[in-house]
């Protein structure tokens, strides 16, 4: 077994025993990246030198008896979370040469815990997309099957973990961008409750929906990552002052006394039969572990795509106004200031980003605000109420993550609405601000991974991790195949 094959918990055991050093482990991951990432494209930036320095420091700290909870563990960070002195491209030509002057809070927390940052993971441009194909520097590929997408927008973060290039990674989830690529690549991915993890240093897409979260090879590793990054931050006034429980300690209890709700609207037409079969099997697994299964209803589910694709682009159109070629990022000269703005933004942004800026600007423009933004925000209330009502009947919601397994690269190229509709099972989570996790449920007959989605009420990450851990234990899936 090579060191890069180790997950977080296994790495830590070897590091603690002294049978492996962080430098050896980091070198092994860097060699793995060197060998496979040409085919996978999970990384935009690899920081070999910085990673090896961090690994040396981790080894020294461990020898001195001051090892943090991720001491010496190699991780990747989505390329929209600032890591000081590394590029933060957001998958866009606009920020191709932007170098972060500071660390995002989630990154600071990783560093304080002793994690080794290997580099920055590929993603859809400004996190806008469902397959990472809007990235200006090429889309990451699904490590499980050649020719297929890794999902998005955190496709690189998911692919890097699935291809064993790093033990774990960070991504961000605005409408499914952690859970969906986790499902498509066969790894664990968690979107925490809105406000659980600081957004400071996370490049903003839609500020009322964005949340930072981890990818890992198993639920226990995911719990450890969650422990490190969670918590109130004075630098993010929307982070919430809520105690952070011991996520790892909660995992191993059984599920007796837990009720899992099956939202009937998540199992309607358009759901791939193989995906349904795998998720139904997951529901049986939860039952076998002692969970009580009930059917519940989230009646406004069919409206979430329409509401989301007004709210998220509206917020994006405002957030992305900052890219004007003045204080940072790409600039294309023009004969006056206005021309410079237009030249910069027209050349710096890709088509999907422009499309969303146009939708958002239109929805917020004079005369249309009530019909679009206000209406969508009212529907958001109804979606939130659906969840509140469902969680009076159950502790977790269990469903598919995405209606289909991974699709072929290029499939949705000219049909943005079809791509948006594929997000229908993950968008409501963000509109309601509740936590969600994708845990591998199995593979289709053609070998594509399918995740099981668990959603919980606000701040119920502990419950989700416990249900996810039990699911994983019950299913005992073989290690994912890698097709490189």
């Amino acid at each position: 077994m090579q060191p890069y094959e180790l997950g977080i918990e296994e790495s830590l055991r070897a590091l603690e025993k002294g049978t492996l050093s962080s430098v050896e482990l980091t070198r092994s991951c860097l060699e793995r990246i060197e060998k496979v990432d040409g085919d996978i494209g999970a990384f935009i930036t690899v920081d070999s030198e910085g990673a090896l320095m961090a690994a040396e420091a981790a080894d020294r700290n461990r020898a001195a008896g001051s090892a943090g909870s991720l001491c010496g563990v190699p991780v990747a960070v989505k390329d929209l979370l600032n890591v000081k002195n590394l590029k933060n491209t957001c998958g866009s030509k606009m920020l191709e040469n932007f170098i972060s002057p500071y660390d995002a809070t989630s990154v600071t927390k990783l560093k304080q815990a002793g994690a080794v940052i290997l580099g920055k993971a590929s993603m859809d441009e400004f996190a806008m997309g469902s397959a990472s194909e809007t990235c200006a520097f090429g889309a990451p590929r699904n490590p499980v099957k050649k020719g297929y997408v890794a999902g998005g927008s955190s496709g690189g973060s998911a692919a890097a973990v699935a291809a064993l290039e790093c033990a774990a990674s960070l991504g961000s989830d605005t409408g499914g961008s952690i859970r969906q690529p986790a499902s498509l690549c066969g790894v664990v991915g968690m979107k925490p409750t809105y406000g659980r993890v600081s957004r400071y240093g996370l490049t903003a897409f839609a500020s009322s929906l964005d949340q930072v979260g981890p990818f890992a090879r198993n639920v226990a590793d995911c719990a450890r990552m969650m422990q490190v990054i969670s918590g109130w931050d004075e630098m993010d006034s929307t982070s919430v002052q809520q105690p952070v429980p011991d996520f790892s300690a909660a995992l191993t209890e059984g599920l007796s006394g837990m009720t899992a709700g099956v939202p009937k609207e998540y199992f309607t037409a358009g759901l791939d039969p193989e995906v349904e079969k795998i998720v139904r099997n997951g529901i049986e697994a939860l039952k076998a572990r002692g969970a009580n299964i009930v059917e519940v209803s989230l009646p406004h589910t069919e409206y979430c795509v329409a509401a989301y694709y007004i709210i998220a682009p509206s917020e994006a159109s405002s957030n992305l106004a900052r890219y004007d070629g003045v204080v940072y990022g790409f600039r294309k000269e023009g004969e006056n200031l206005l021309e410079m703005y237009k030249n910069t933004r027209s050349e710096g942004f890709g088509a999907e980003v422009k499309r969303r800026i146009l939708i958002g600007t239109y929805a917020l423009s004079s005369g249309y605000y009530d019909a679009y933004y206000k209406k969508a925000s009212q529907v958001r209330t109804l979606i939130l109420n659906d969840f509140k009502s469902a969680f009076t009947k159950c502790d977790v919601l269990v469903s598919p993550v995405c209606p289909t397994p991974a699709w072929k690269l290029g499939e949705y190229k000219d049909d943005p609405l079809a791509a948006y509709l594929s997000d229908i099972l993950t968008l409501s989570t963000n509109l309601a601000g509740v936590p969600g996790i994708s845990v591998p449920g199995g593979v289709t007959s053609s070998g594509l991974p399918v995740g099981v989605q668990l959603q919980g009420t606000h701040f119920a990450e502990e419950t989700l991790l416990r249900a996810g851990w039990n699911l994983e234990q019950e299913l005992q899936l073989p290690a994912g195949k890698i097709d490189i």
């Binding site: 204080v327 940072y328 942004f349």
Partner: protein, 96 residues
């Protein structure tokens, strides 16, 4: 067919958003935005009379902190990512 949005509307919005669209882009975007906005009309199926809008899931308001002077980015660091700068400022095309 009744279009939700015309090329003139898209041109207007593009100008508000400081984007310039080529003729081809304008035609493609108009078609795509029309499809998306027609789909969004689905929201009109729901009666939202009296429903208050949610812009934020937790009703946080006035998150205050003490106004204490703290170190922040140094001027030279802040200027580092600037596309065009001199010793102490960002440079832009002539405005007046």
């Amino acid at each position: 067919m009744n279009m939700k949005i015309s090329q003139e509307d898209v041109q207007h919005v593009a100008n508000l958003a400081r984007l310039r669209l080529s003729d081809v882009e304008l035609a493609t975007m108009t078609g795509q935005l029309d499809t998306i906005l027609s789909y969004v009309d689905k929201l009109d199926e729901i009666d939202t009379t009296g429903v208050s809008p949610t812009t934020h899931v937790f009703p946080l308001s006035n998150v205050f902190r003490e106004d204490i002077v703290r170190p922040s980015l140094k001027q030279q660091e802040a200027l580092k990512n600037g596309p065009e700068t001199d010793e102490e400022s960002f440079l832009v095309p002539k405005i007046i």
